[in-house]
């Protein structure tokens, strides 16, 4: 885990309201796990006061310059402009300074290479699945189900396809791929591939539906959660979710930042999860 000042290498709008930012990040390639996140401080002046959490899309190296310098290590994040922090972020250019804390949290457990894998991502929830797909692709047959409200929410589809992942797109308005919810596609796929392991990230109602489907099919599931958080290191206790067996007498809270953001579905108390999570969008 590192905390340092670094610079933006590029920052481009890839779909209306969605940006992809590349940041110089020495030390990340070796230690980052798929599903981990970073926290950004976009400017030293206030506001915004708190750092903002973002899932790592991928890590990589820039080719060495002609001058023979070592290759530069970077991370990429993909974010949606939803609030004060991301409004400032979209204005950043190459060479601008930011403070970067990470990589944080627990990532995905890659599991048995023999099992087929189904990844289910909704909107911005596709972001942490890319690095996962990268790691899984050469281990096991991997299929990706992408969902969104409209075609604008189906981001980085080319990148996933380039990995060789079998990709299925659905949108609620039918503007791209199949019309309807991504969970309907999941239902069909699990009927066809009953031994698959499922990995999912997206809005809470989607995750809850995914969880119910996986439970019916006895399919192992890992989910990556979003939450409001101040510190990202397990100190503020702002981002807690109820673990299985939680009660007021016997609190079983889990920190999304430190115990997650990836959880095995059976770690969580789903009966109370939906009403306690809020749209995290507004905070970023």
């Amino acid at each position: 885990m590192k905390n340092y000042k670094t610079i933006v290498l590029s920052n481009q709008e890839i779909s209306p309201g969605y940006f992809r930012m590349r940041i110089l990040a020495p030390g990340y390639d070796e230690i980052s796990q798929a599903g981990q996140f970073v926290m950004f401080r976009v400017q030293r002046a206030l506001p915004p006061l708190l750092r903002r959490p973002f899932g790592i899309f991928r890590t990589g190296f820039l080719p060495p310059d002609c001058d023979g310098m070592a290759p530069k290590e970077f991370i990429e994040i993909v974010y949606k402009v939803v609030g004060l922090g991301t409004e400032i972020m979209q204005e950043l250019h190459q060479g601008d300074q930011i403070e970067l804390l990470g990589p944080l949290g627990r990532g995905f457990y890659l599991g048995d290479p023999d099992e087929e894998k189904i990844l289910v991502g909704g909107g911005i929830g596709l972001v942490p699945l890319y690095m996962l797909a990268e790691k899984l692709e050469n281990r096991a047959k991997t299929r990706l189900l992408m969902g969104g409200r409209t075609r604008d929410d189906i981001i980085t589809v080319t990148e996933f396809e380039r990995l060789g992942v079998e990709t299925y797109v659905s949108t609620e308005d039918g503007s791209l791929g199949e019309e309807g919810l991504v969970t309907r596609v999941l239902e069909r796929k699990l009927e066809k591939y009953p031994n698959a392991t499922v990995y999912s990230c997206g809005p809470m109602p989607m995750l809850d539906a995914v969880q119910q489907i996986c439970r019916r099919h006895n399919a192992p599931l890992q989910v990556s959660l979003e939450a409001l958080m101040a510190c990202g290191v397990g100190a503020c206790l702002g981002c807690v979710v109820k673990g299985v067996g939680h009660s007021d007498k016997n609190p079983q809270y889990l920190c999304t930042c430190k115990d997650g953001p990836v959880f095995h579905a059976e770690q969580l108390d789903w009966s109370r999860l939906e009403d306690q999570q809020q749209e995290c969008g507004g905070c970023n």
Partner: protein, 316 residues
Amino acid sequence: MSENRTVKKESGLCPRMDVEVAGIKFRNPVMPASGTFGYGQEYAPYLDLNQLGAIVTKGLSLDPKAGNPTPRIAETTGGMLNAIGLQNVGVDAFINQKMPFLEQFDTPIIVNFFGNTAEEYAEVAARLNDVPTVAALEMNISCPNVKHGGIVFGTEPQAAFDVVSLVRKRLDKPLIVKLTPNVTDIRVTARAVEDAGADAISLINTLTGMAVDVKTRRPRLANQIGGLSGPGIRPVAVRLTHQVVQTVKVPVIGIGGIFRAMDALEFLIVGAKAVQVGTANFVDPNAMEQIILDLKAFCIEEGIEDINELIGSLVL
């Protein structure tokens, strides 16, 4: 290396940074505010706990406490609201599971605690009194986010006097009492806890506040109201620290929106013997480290040989 050179050779002096509060020596006046630093372990990967003046733990109760439903935090302009609800592992789990980690460091450990009733306060204090490596206790009579205890004791001077007196009887270690700003006249509470035997006073806890999501028309915190912290509250905190310093004889620890060394200096100059850094830890895990360095640099620039010269040096 370059730092040492600046400190020792170019200026010709290395300022003394150590301060003493209620008989405890701190290597410098900077420590975390309870609730913003977990049990210390959370921040150990980022900063050397041996550099801090003290470690102040999250508040502990007799039994583990679940805390409030989420959302528990909301950012506001120049600050944040929180209503965590004093979630903690309970005093026994703290002593058995969290203390061994903290004991590795050569830094005084201040344990923050609270109770639902006066008897519970006294019981938690008694259990911590038996732990030799605990340097002092900080008693929270001011949390705005829980229904029982906390704020009741902090806002009624007689109740504050009674509960501090009861704890005092069960405790040999130094006792710091943390005050709430959500009162009409903080000097009355300060006098009450001093009379009851507090060895030091820390202030301020958060200011109560509320924020509303205008689209859903719901409070942004599940608890509806929460405690406001961050740079926005600092002038209020400096004013209250000044008033309490003028009122009591016991040492005062200043808290409220300290993000930089300049902020910490305001509290020291009005007479706080030490300061606690809270919300800044969330924003930058290295905040305290930087504040300590910059305090030292300030002393050098100003030709101050001992930071104690600054304490209470307010010019009126």
